[in-house]
């Protein structure tokens, strides 16, 4: 009997063969804490009686949700974070470099086969490089900081095979939205997603990242891609035999296998107010919009901004539409400025913001009000996510979002 990717990662980590349902204690390779929860992590850590972090270099603190501060109390989080870093000798802190999930892979904190936890549900993102990563609460984070370990239940795996060539106007975002629509918001609860097939093999790491990022919206514990030469290049490493082996075996046991033909995908949107309420863009065409948001840890990468710029080049957003563009990191911001993408977006009328969580978490940069409609490339369209509970949020790919910005209504890209 063969093994799935998650079974191999956990086996390599614990040194023993594991099967779905087993509860095991894993050795944590890296943790990520963001600004929202650092005060709680810090107080729980000390309440538990810890006086030192198990391995301070393995902990990463990232300020992103509250950067720059929009409420008078926000800076308290930075002060507590700074004190915690100082007191416990942490070196890995990012105060304005970008969104946590982008930085964790971009800055080289995560490698294939790693076991990583973060105080954010979208920690599933690092599956894009073949790492097992998942979100946890702040109490558990405090315990990991003290012990370097966490118990997990080995999940069953849903295998998703995608083969063929995607249509020009379809992006990885459309694939993951379609999958979430098909699985339902709880369709992958407690399970690992494992992606395979030549379509995903041909994808950039950035595209894979968009998909692993959103796995939690189907309830998944993690979403894994097999590390390949693209992963190696992205991570700046040479893959070891152990890392190359992180593929599902032909005789591995899956609880479900889903097969898609890439040619069958069409641009889709997740309609208000559930991520699994997914419809083809063609069915939604004509709906008037007020704002477009291109950014977030789901779709704020260079290829996303370039895809939007390609559509916006030489054109202008509709006069009543605010197009907000938020690169996922400072590095991406600089690259997009250097290759002319930012100029195209600015010419087209975009409002370009600093890299942060910003509008995606409803804190800053374009909050909406009753009756307004936004086409957004982030990962959640829950009630009240970007303003009042009567804002209509449609989740879409950067190409779809850019096309809508020009038209002032929903259109197929």
């Amino acid at each position: 009997m063969g093994f799935t990717i998650i079974e191999k990662i956990v086996r390599n980590n614990t040194g023993k063969e594991v099967h779905p349902g087993d509860i095991v204690t894993v050795n944590v390779d890296r943790v990520m804490i963001h600004d929202i929860f650092i005060p709680f992590v810090a107080s729980k850590f000390e309440e538990m009686g810890f006086t030192k972090i198990w391995d301070a270099d393995k902990a990463v603190l990232i300020y992103d949700h509250l950067v720059p501060a929009s409420q008078v109390d926000d800076t308290r989080h930075f002060r507590i974070g700074n004190e915690f870093v100082e007191k416990y000798g942490m070196k890995n802190i990012h105060r304005s470099d970008g969104i946590c999930h982008q930085l964790m892979t971009e800055a080289g904190y995560v490698k294939p086969g790693d076991v990583v936890f973060g105080t954010d549900s979208h920690t599933t993102t690092y599956g894009c490089v073949g790492a097992f990563s998942s979100g946890i609460g702040y109490t558990e984070m405090a315990s990991i900081l003290g012990t370097g370990t966490l118990w997990i239940r080995v999940p069953e795996t849903i295998r998703v095979n995608i083969t063929g060539k995607l249509p020009e106007n379809v992006m990885a975002k459309d694939i993951i939205l379609k999958l979430i629509g098909d699985l339902g918001a709880d369709g992958a609860t407690y399970k690992a997603l494992e992606f395979a097939g030549d379509t995903v093999e041909n994808m950039t790491v950035a595209s894979r990242m968009s998909m692993s990022n959103m796995a939690i919206e189907a309830g998944a514990k993690c979403a894994l891609f097999t590390p390949d030469e693209k992963t190696a290049e992205y991570c700046g490493i040479t893959l070891t035999d152990k890392e190359l082996d992180l593929a599902g075996d032909a005789d591995a046991k899956y609880c479900k296998v889903i097969n898609y033909r890439a040619e069958d995908f069409v641009p889709v949107m997740a309609c208000p107010s559930n991520v699994d309420n997914v419809k083809p863009v063609s069915e939604l065409a004509g709906k008037e919009i007020d704002q477009v948001f291109i950014g977030s840890c789901t779709n704020g990468r260079l290829e996303d901004l370039m895809a939007a710029a390609e559509i916006l080049k030489g054109k202008h957003v509709a006069p009543f539409v605010k197009l907000i563009v938020t690169p996922a990191s400072r590095k991406i911001y600089k690259e997009a400025a250097a290759n002319g993408t930012m100029a195209v977006l600015a010419e087209a009328g975009a409002i370009i913001t600093h890299p942060s969580c910003g509008l995606c978490c409803g804190r800053t940069g374009g909050i909406l009000t009753d009756g307004e409609t936004v086409i957004a490339t982030n990962n959640r369209n829950f009630l009240g996510r970007m303003g009042t509970s009567k804002v209509n949020i449609y989740l879409a790919s950067p190409k779809s979002a850019a096309a809508c910005a020009i038209a002032g209504k929903i259109v197929n890209p």
């Binding site: 349902g21 087993d22 509860i23 095991v24 204690t25 729980k44 309440e47 538990m48 009686g49 810890f50 946890i136 609460g137 109490t139 558990e140 405090a142 315990s143 003290g146 012990t147 118990w151 239940r153 709880d186 609860t189 407690y190 309830g219 514990k221």
Partner: protein
């Protein structure tokens, strides 16, 4: 707590966190204030009938829905010793263990028991119901330690020899 006997209450599939504690009561100050409203959308009288040491036996996907940590806290506050279900939702499972509430997964038991029956649980070994034994997938000792300590914060305090935990 290696072995104990309790009276069971039987619930169905997909007992979500909104059933365990509806959102409207989450603003109450303490878990004790919320506890009388536990399971109220489904069985409003249930919270008042539960006694310390009782056991809940449920179907699949127990605790699905939101991440509200009050859900396992309330079940524990009502004196429930353990929840046995065909399966648990992921976040609830972790929250329960970290709050010191014992959970046991068992596919078969739910379909053979009746409310009011007594069952005996031997930790890491088996559930006994009317002479029949149902094996329990063993929990690692560190999880049993967390539950026995009364939750993750207390378990860590014990690890660190904190006196006032």
């Amino acid at each position: 707590m290696d072995k104990f006997t309790g009276k069971i209450w039987v619930l169905g599939d997909d007992i979500d966190t909104d059933i365990i504690i509806p959102t409207e009561y989450l603003a109450l100050k303490t878990v004790q204030d919320m506890a009388p409203y536990a399971f109220s959308p489904l069985r409003p009288e249930l919270a008042g009938q539960l006694n310390a040491g009782d056991i809940i036996v449920a179907g699949k996907n127990f605790g699905c829905g939101s991440s509200r940590e009050q859900a396992p806290e309330i079940i524990k506050a009502l004196g429930i010793k353990c929840v046995i279900a065909k399966s648990f939702a992921r976040i609830f499972f972790r929250n329960a263990i970290n709050n010191g509430l014992l959970l046991i997964e068992n596919e078969k038991l739910r379909d053979v028991v009746s409310e009011g029956d007594e069952i005996t649980i031997t930790i890491n070994e088996s559930i006994e119901h009317q002479g029949n034994q149902y094996p329990i997938t063993s929990l690692p000792q560190n999880l049993v330690d967390i539950i026995n300590a009364g939750g993750l914060v207390k378990a860590m305090q014990k690890l660190n020899n904190v006196e006032n935990g």
